[in-house]
């Protein structure tokens, strides 16, 4: 397509419904890496540790595969790809249930810096994230667990050349191991009332506590701020938009992760149905099981379509993309949980045991369903964004 033509077409016309050969090859290489590094035995080992990840694997992911850099621009040490490639990474991580601070660091924090930071801040902060040197996270929700930015209460008050943060954040992904915190806070200085602030995790005046998470593969922390010194990311008044954009990107990334997990569960249910014999025949020959599996496949494929489409739309900056982010998050989280429930059902009693791996993905499905907001919250947001 010629450049001239491209500039006149609507972004939606540049949306691809199939991955390119390069993208498929990238996915295949990543899948081989994860099959090797994140078998269920490793997931089980790491989820019992406090940090919750293996620094050696993180180093390989960062240095050999450059995963935290994938969507970051070249000038900040990134690889210059976009939402589609990030979606591929998330899908594969979700499939393998990799225990690593990727979503927190590369998706939530890096995008927040990219969306809100000044040129200087981006140049200072992003290269260490791209290289995997620094772990980072974004703190949004508070004790009430509300993901609507209007609910943010943590206060930022000007002090010297920076701000002091006071309040409590909770449900902070990997907050206990992050080197760098990005905090969404309320400030009277900004017209939109919100700002994104950055501070090192060892700043005086903040305490972190690892919470017991039901999904042990995903660590969450509570962080108390008492006059902790922080810098505003970017300029006053741009916080709310940057936060909204960051959360929408996170929703798309999470939707893709969920699709990867759901497919894994479906595969496992299909395999079990072919193998398990009752009444002298494989249970997969019973129509009740067959039809359930066919419905699960449809469910997963429909969710996949929303997750892929939203990533494509974001990549080409189709103005629709924030609405589609909500759609994808709601669709994928419901499909994931349904698939998990049905996968347990198809496994029967063994599906309810700790030794069977299904519950690992079930719990990830549950935590992903509520993280960033429940499906009904996202559907309401979709309706608002469509001005219904």
């Amino acid at each position: 397509m010629s450049g001239a033509q491209e500039s006149t077409t609507h972004p939606a016309q540049r949306i691809q419904y199939a991955f390119t050969e390069e993208q498929e090859q990238f996915r295949a290489a990543l899948r081989r890496f994860l099959d090797d590094k994140s078998p269920p035995s490793e997931v089980r080992r790491l989820m019992e540790t406090e940090p919750g990840y293996d620094p050696a694997v993180w180093r390989q992911m960062s240095q050999e595969l450059a995963l935290p850099a994938i969507h970051l621009p070249h000038q900040y040490g990134g690889s210059g790809f976009g939402m589609v490639e990030l979606g591929i990474v998330m899908e594969e991580l979700g499939r393998a249930l990799l225990c690593a601070p990727y979503f927190s660091t590369a998706v939530m924090a890096a995008n927040a810096i990219l969306n809100a930071g000044s040129e200087q801040q981006k140049a200072a902060l992003l290269p260490d994230i791209a290289s995997g040197e620094h772990l980072a996270t974004l703190a949004v929700a508070e004790l009430g667990g509300d993901w609507d930015p209007h609910a943010i209460q943590l206060r930022a008050t000007p002090a010297g050349d920076g701000f002091l943060l006071d309040g409590v954040k909770s449900y902070v992904l990997d907050g206990h191991v992050s080197d760098l915190l990005i905090v969404a806070a309320r400030t009277a200085e900004a017209a939109d009332g919100l700002g994104l602030f950055v501070l090192p995790a060892d700043t005086r005046g903040l305490t972190r506590r690892l919470l017991k998470s039901m999904d042990a593969t995903r660590k969450i922390a509570r962080i108390d701020f008492k006059g902790a010194q922080a810098q505003l990311l970017g300029s006053v008044g741009a916080g709310a938009n940057a936060l909204a954009r960051t959360l929408d990107q996170a929703a798309i990334a999470l939707a893709n992760e969920m699709v990867g997990g759901a497919q894994k569960l479906l595969d496992s249910a299909v395999n079990y149905a072919k193998m398990r014999v009752q009444f002298g025949r494989p249970i997969g020959s019973f129509q009740a099981i067959k039809h359930k599996l066919a419905d699960m496949l449809l469910d997963v494929e429909l969710a996949r379509s929303t997750a892929y489409y939203a990533a494509q739309a974001a990549a080409v900056e189709d103005p629709e993309w924030p609405a589609l982010a909500c759609m994808a998050k709601a669709a994928a989280s419901e499909a994931y949980l349904r698939t998990a429930i049905d996968c347990i059902q198809i496994h029967g009693g063994i599906g309810f045991t700790w030794d069977n791996d299904t519950h690992l993905w079930f719990k990830r499905a549950k935590s992903s369903e509520v993280f960033l907001g429940m499906p009904d919250y996202h559907r309401e947001l979709l309706m608002q964004r469509w001005r219904v």
């Binding site: 072919k274 419905d295 309706m383 219904v388």
Partner: protein
């Protein structure tokens, strides 16, 4: 023949349309041009009125036709299924005799598969065909036959061997319906329309050159037809035509729609009319109700997801990739969309959903949705049969035990 790129195809069709499209042509003359040039059925082979394009590029041609408002071949209708089947299994004689007139829509067709005793289980057909030395003589009954009341030809599945196992005793014929041995009786549907029929055969005649493929190979041929039918059911609409619709050709097309396409005029309603949902919510004020908003969002998500899933299937095809599971889900997804849409329309419409005809909102359209949607999950293979197919062919789950083996004569039936 080397692979043409999307841009090359676009260029070619544009140039051809520029030179040939004229809204003042008689419809038949235009359709003949489509047959001669291959642009009517671009994925058909070159020697048979096509251009040999990969099916994935058909959309490009449709888009270019739509961009200038050009009329294409008849989009709905059984003729296409018959044609796809003949292209695969038909003889030279059959292709020459039938294909062109399907493109021009001079002949319309129907599909004589279902019988009172066998619908999902099509291979259980008991309509018989016996050879009398000159012709095949047909006796029996078909049912739910859409368009039989105006069709010239039908594709007929009939039993030619009662001692062979069920699937091996069938043969596939083309039958001329305009003959004394064929009686067509319209059947009224629950939505008041009568687009399908009962068809009775009493010593109806089929000449031997109308047998498609071999005697006893009818099931294999029918499977081809059904595979095409499922593929057409992916719910993707034609691109919207642009431009003013004035000119002789449009008048003739409207007349065609009013007759040949009459049986299908409720089909948009049976698909659920998702396009009306948000408008209706606004005009009734239901858009203020958080419960309704949730349901609308769910429906729109489902409808979009179904559309994108079909597009993914086509894009993979366009790239020459093996078909993934997404290619088999369109029909089942379309059923879900339609059913959810009917539910949401009811939620929006409230008590007025009790009304029909001009007393019902939108002059009866809403009522027609509610009483037409139940067809989607039955026609063209029920949802249950779709699930069987998905489970066994896509997920490769083991087949169920069978009770219909051995000579058909001894198989239990209705």
């Amino acid at each position: 023949m080397s692979e043409l790129s999307e841009a090359e195809v676009r260029d070619e069709v544009r140039t051809w349309l520029k030179a040939n499209w004229d809204p003042n042509l008689p419809l038949l003359e235009w359709r003949n041009k489509l047959a001669d040039s291959g642009w009517g059925m671009p994925h058909w082979p070159r020697e048979w009125y096509g251009r040999g394009l990969p099916p994935g590029l058909v959309r490009v041609v449709e888009e270019e036709f739509a961009a200038v408002g050009a009329v294409g071949v008849l989009r709905g209708g059984i003729g296409r299924l018959a044609a796809a089947t003949l292209l695969e299994h038909g003889t030279e004689f059959q292709k020459r005799k039938f294909l062109r007139r399907i493109i021009t829509a001079e002949d319309t067709w129907c599909q004589l598969f279902s019988e009172p005793g066998s619908g999902s289980d099509l291979a259980g057909a008991t309509t018989r065909a016996d050879f009398d030395g000159t012709n095949w003589i047909i006796n029996g009954q078909k049912v739910w036959t859409t368009s039989a009341h105006h069709a010239k030809y039908g594709t007929l599945l009939a039993r030619t061997d009662w001692d062979a196992p069920k699937h091996e005793g069938l043969s596939y014929f083309i039958i001329d319906l305009k003959q004394p041995g064929v009686e067509v009786k319209p059947l009224r549907q629950m939505n008041g329309h009568a687009s399908f029929n009962q068809v009775f055969f009493t010593d109806a005649k089929v000449p031997p050159e109308y047998l498609v493929s071999r005697v006893g190979n009818g099931w294999q041929v029918a499977v081809t037809t059904l595979a095409h039918e499922r593929r057409f059911a992916d719910g993707l609409a034609a691109p919207t035509r642009r431009g003013p619709r004035t000119g002789r050709i449009y008048d003739e097309e409207r007349a065609e729609l009013a007759t040949v396409m009459e049986p299908y005029k409720w089909y948009p309603q049976r698909a659920g009319r998702v396009d009306l949902v948000i408008e209706r919510a606004r005009e009734t004020g239901a858009n203020q109700d958080p419960r309704v908003r949730q349901e609308i969002a769910k429906l729109m998500t489902l409808a979009k997801a179904a559309e994108w899933t079909s597009r993914r299937a086509r894009a993979a095809q366009r790239r020459g990739r093996p078909q993934g599971p997404e290619g088999s889900l369109g029909k089942l997804a379309a059923s879900h969309v339609a059913r959810s849409a009917a539910r949401v329309h009811t939620l929006i419409t409230g008590t007025a959903a009790m009304l029909t005809g001009e007393d019902s909102p939108r002059n009866g359209v809403i009522a027609e949705i509610l009483v037409s949607v139940p067809a989607v999950s039955i026609a063209g293979g029920t949802d249950e049969i779709q699930r069987n197919i998905i489970a066994e062919r896509v997920l490769e789950l083991p087949k169920e035990p069978r009770f219909d083996t051995g000579p058909f004569r001894n198989v239990r039936r209705n």
